[in-house]
């Protein structure tokens, strides 16, 4: 593995360096290359795009009707992310474009910070003001003092700008509020993080274990489709969930676990698999290190021990361990994606990684395949300056395994209680609604109040825009170019996003904003193009394609360079860990004073009358950003709180009754939520879908509909290895009367 894949990485970076030649070969006039897509009257037309409604980035076609109006979006048959079928959010993506509540013009705050009155300004005024502030704040505190919070494709353009400006204080909630701990757990075990989309060979698996995932409710498109294909082929699905999730209902085994005890179950599985010698002996022998230590370590974690903790019967634990072993190596213990639950998340996912290693599934058909990527060289640009410090220096002792920017560290460095030397003084926020995406809203707001300047770039007037000094309206993904999608998959593949229509209102693409700002900061050399299409065309031509070709096909696949989708029989690959082996026992964790093998540690329990708050996803919404989409609110316009009938009886709660929630710290929800009495949830927990209960009145369809789970998440348990913010240690109780406090708006 090391030979082929390491070389691969080397070649690609070398490639990028040698082709750094100055001016691009072809120049388009700004916008001129879009003319053929201005729907000709009378004919249906289509343009390629990749979806931005979630991070899966499915490639598809945007259709315009005979009048030249955006009509529908359909998956691209050649796309390995979507297999030609979009999920409901992607299909409803047209609503992102048509939403009449979109941000329309640049806005500037009038009066004092905290005053949510804005005036419309021109783009020129906005850029002059922002550039002036950047120079002023950079001059006073150093350019590093300006941080960037980013998400998605548009975040990358501002990432380039900030790096050129000299600040690598950049982070996105996709790491510390989502998959951070998972990435580190896999890197610690197998030497590499999983990235996105995860290299899970679901279509060929014989046994799929879901313990951190509710596939089918989270519409991770390719995975949902492959799971369905696997069901046709008779896959055994094992789902661990305190709730009868959709996936649980399709499973051969549903283990209705007591929440917050997953690590106990995982360790008991490891115990059975080792003690009953169910593991893949040759694989474990040759590829892993630390089996003896692990064996000793897990002797304490018997199924009988786990029963008392998880409420899962020992016979069920043994039967499911056996089912996994029977399928080995074509078995996947799903690594999950949103992994920040309990503050011990790197360790919990380490247990998942170890289980996969014992079952020999990593690098095997029906387990984890070995992904590969197209080698797309970067567009020639100046070298970035070296900043004097970065996010890690805010708290140098913390989160030694964090491999990507930690949003909550940036918040710490921005907060008035920060005592260190590396304060953050200004924020840029693009594509992420921080008061909702980072838990402990109060602390985030305190940090924002402590900033000298905040710029927010978004398509919608989400809560975060109310904290900005300047708001810049971004156009949607249907109205702009962005980087070529280059994703790791079974085959190298690329996908194009191009505008299907002119940006509505005064909105503009992020690449253009970054470029215009760069001009005013004297950083033109980093944005050496007129239109982003030039960048794409230049890049595409380096790999034997062109913008013209991609406009016709949307997705292009390339051959794998090596026949190494799985390990070859008998191959002994070298892993990028300290030992070169798969580390069942992690010397690296030990070296930093962490548990080298996962240990079960009991987590706090709810007091009487309180219930653990579990949140999740609905298939028709993404985070909090689709709650106002006219097409998707049609499918689901608010969340409800799922309550077990026994509990509902005790509290005398009825279906559709509106109640308020209060958590263990006394936080009370701003809005009420409808009760859903259902057997699908355990009696010790309640469940709701994340992303509702919006507080900004400018979101006319979302305002006040349902309840915002993050308001109830005030107890945040931080994963010490990665900095991930564990959000599932909050307990709520029910208020049937409208609480005294004023409902904020």
């Amino acid at each position: 593995m090391k030979t082929t894949r390491r070389d691969f990485i080397k070649i690609s970076s070398l490639g990028a360096g040698t082709i750094a030649l100055g001016t691009p070969a072809i120049k388009f006039l700004a916008g001129a290359d879009d003319s053929e897509n201005k729907g000709k009257s009378g004919a249906v037309t289509r343009t390629p795009n990749y979806c931005e409604v979630c991070f899966w980035n499915c490639a598809g076609w945007v259709y315009k009707n005979e009048e030249g109006k955006i009509w529908k979006i359909i998956g691209n048959e050649d796309d390995p992310h979507s297999y030609g079928r979009f999920c409901p959010r992607g299909t409803g993506g047209v609503g992102m474009y048509y939403d009449e509540d979109r941000l329309k013009t640049p806005l500037m705050r009038v009066g004092e910070p905290g005053n949510q009155t804005y005036k419309e300004i021109s783009w020129d005024e906005a850029f002059e003001h922002i550039a002036g502030k950047m120079k002023e704040i950079g001059g006073k505190y150093g350019n590093e003092s300006i941080a960037l919070f980013k998400h998605g494709s548009s975040g990358k353009h501002f990432g380039k700008l900030m790096s050129a400006f000299g600040s690598t204080n950049q982070a996105g909630p996709a790491y510390a509020q989502c998959k951070g701990p998972r990435e580190e757990a896999f890197a610690l075990t197998f030497g590499e993080p999983l990235h996105s989309p995860e290299p899970l060979d679901i279509r060929d698996t014989k046994c799929l274990v879901l313990i951190g995932s509710h596939l089918g409710e989270n519409m991770h498109n390719g995975q949902v489709q492959e799971m369905s294909e696997a069901i046709d082929k008779g896959v055994t699905v094992i789902t661990v969930d305190p709730r009868l999730s959709t996936a649980a209902s399709k499973s051969k085994f549903w283990l209705p676990i007591k929440p917050a005890t997953d690590t106990a179950l995982l360790l008991a599985w490891i115990n059975v698999i080792i003690n009953e010698e169910l593991y893949d002996k040759e694989y474990v022998d040759k590829l892993t290190i630390g089996l003896d230590k692990l064996k000793d370590h897990v002797q304490q974690y018997t199924p009988e021990w786990a029963y008392g903790i998880t409420t899962i019967e020992p016979s069920q634990i043994r039967a499911t361990a056996k089912a996994m072993a029977d399928a080995s190596p074509s078995v996947i213990v799903h690594p999950g994606r949103h992994a920040t639950w309990y503050g011990d998340d790197t360790q919990r996912i380490r247990a998942i990684a170890i289980l996969n290693a014992l079952l020999g599934s990593y690098g095997r058909r029906g387990g984890f395949y070995l992904p590969t990527k197209a080698k797309l060289p970067g567009f020639p640009s100046e070298k970035n300056p070296n900043p004097a410090w970065s996010w890690r220096d805010i708290e140098p002792e913390k989160y030694p395994f964090a491999s990507d920017g930690v949003t909550n560290l940036l918040v710490d460095g921005s907060h008035p209680d920060y005592k260190g030397k590396h304060s953050i003084k200004a924020w840029f926020v693009i594509g992420t609604n921080l008061p909702v995406s980072i838990p402990n809203t109060k602390r985030t707001v305190e940090a924002m109040d402590n900033q000298e300047f905040i710029v927010v770039i978004d398509t919608m007037p989400t809560e975060i825009t109310g904290y900005a000094d300047i708001v810049l309206p971004e156009c949607t993904y249907l109205e702009r170019y962005d980087d070529i999608r280059v994703s790791p998959h079974r085959e190298p593949n690329i996908a194009l996003r191009m505008p299907a229509a002119e940006p509505k209102y005064e909105s503009k693409p992020a690449w253009w904003m970054a470029k215009e700002l760069a001009k005013r900061l004297g950083l033109d050399a980093y944005f050496n193009f007129e239109n982003y299409s030039e960048v794409l065309d230049w890049q595409l031509k380096q790999i034997g394609s062109s913008l013209e070709e991609m406009k016709k096909i949307g997705v292009k696949k390339f051959e794998r360079e090596f026949d190494d989708l799985y390990f070859a029989p008998g191959e002994i690959p070298e892993f990028f860990t300290g030992s070169g082996k798969i580390e069942l026992y992690s010397s690296e964790l030990a070296a930093y004073g962490f548990d080298p093998m996962p240990v079960y540690k009991p987590l706090p329990e709810p007091e009487a009358g309180f219930y653990r708050l579990i949140y999740g996803r609905a298939p028709m919404h993404t985070f909090s950003r689709t709650a106002n989409n006219p097409n998707l609110t049609d499918l689901m316009k608010e969340n409800s709180v799922w309550i077990n009938p026994k509990v509902a009886k005790e509290w005398d709660l009825k279906n559709d009754q509106k109640i308020w929630l209060k958590n263990q710290d006394g936080a009370i929800s701003s809005f009420p939520i409808k009760v859903r009495v259902t057997e699908r949830i355990r009696w010790d927990s309640v469940y709701m879908v994340h992303g509702f209960g919006h507080k900004d009145k400018r979101l006319s369809r979302a305002f006040g509909h349902g309840l915002m789970d993050t308001e109830m998440i005030t107890n945040v348990l931080i994963d010490k290895e990665s900095g991930g913010t564990g959000m599932r240690s909050n307990f709520v109780t029910f208020l049937t009367e409208k609480p005294e406090k004023e409902v904020q708006s």
């Binding site: 359909i74 079928r85 489709q225 009868l244 077990n644």
Partner: protein, 177 residues
């Protein structure tokens, strides 16, 4: 020729993609839908059964909706597809009352609307929009008179049910169970 649909409840995840794809394909106004999702939960925790069904007009063989229509707006076309001609519909709602599946609705324009099996797409050799989009590939569409069609094959090989058989309308949407 007898068009029919089979929907695999063992694979359907209730995601509503079929609903939104129908809405965009057919320009169904916001707030209205020609197809919808039903969820049924049976049992007591943790012994539970959960079923999602994507429902729509059953394009019945025996059609009370067509019989009760006073103007002939509701009619049956080739392949057994039940349709409404907007220009002829006076919006009296008799068909809505007579349908045991609640498959019809009054559109904001005043006429009655419902699933058409996307006959405009069938004419081009395409599947209905809901079938084409479904991310679990759980819907099968085709001609029951053709023994080799996808829908004939799954109905022959799998257990299935129809909804409200007691209504006697002879529905043509089959749920694989």
């Amino acid at each position: 020729m007898r068009y029919a649909m089979a929907i695999d409840t063992l694979k359907c995840v209730g995601c509503s993609d079929c609903v939104v794809a129908c809405q965009t394909e057919n320009n169904v106004p916001h707030g209205y839908a020609r197809d919808w999702i039903t969820e049924t939960v049976d049992g007591v925790y943790p012994s539970l059964e959960l079923e999602f069904r994507s429902e729509r007009c059953n394009h019945c063989d025996n059609t009370p909706c067509v019989r009760t229509c006073p103007t002939g707006a509701s009619h049956i076309i080739e392949g057994g597809i039940v349709k409404v001609t907007p220009g002829k519909c006076i919006g009296c709602g008799a068909c809505i009352q007579s349908c045991p599946y609640d498959a019809r609705f009054s559109s904001p324009e005043g006429w009655v609307d419902k699933c058409t099996f996307c006959d405009h797409r069938i004419a081009n050799g395409q599947d209905p929009a809901c079938v084409e989009v479904c991310p679990t590939h759980c819907m099968y569409f085709g001609d029951l008179d053709d023994k080799n069609s996808n829908v004939s094959k799954v109905i022959a090989n799998r257990k299935w049910k129809v909804l409200a058989p007691e209504a006697g309308t002879d529905p043509q949407i089959f749920y694989l169970i």
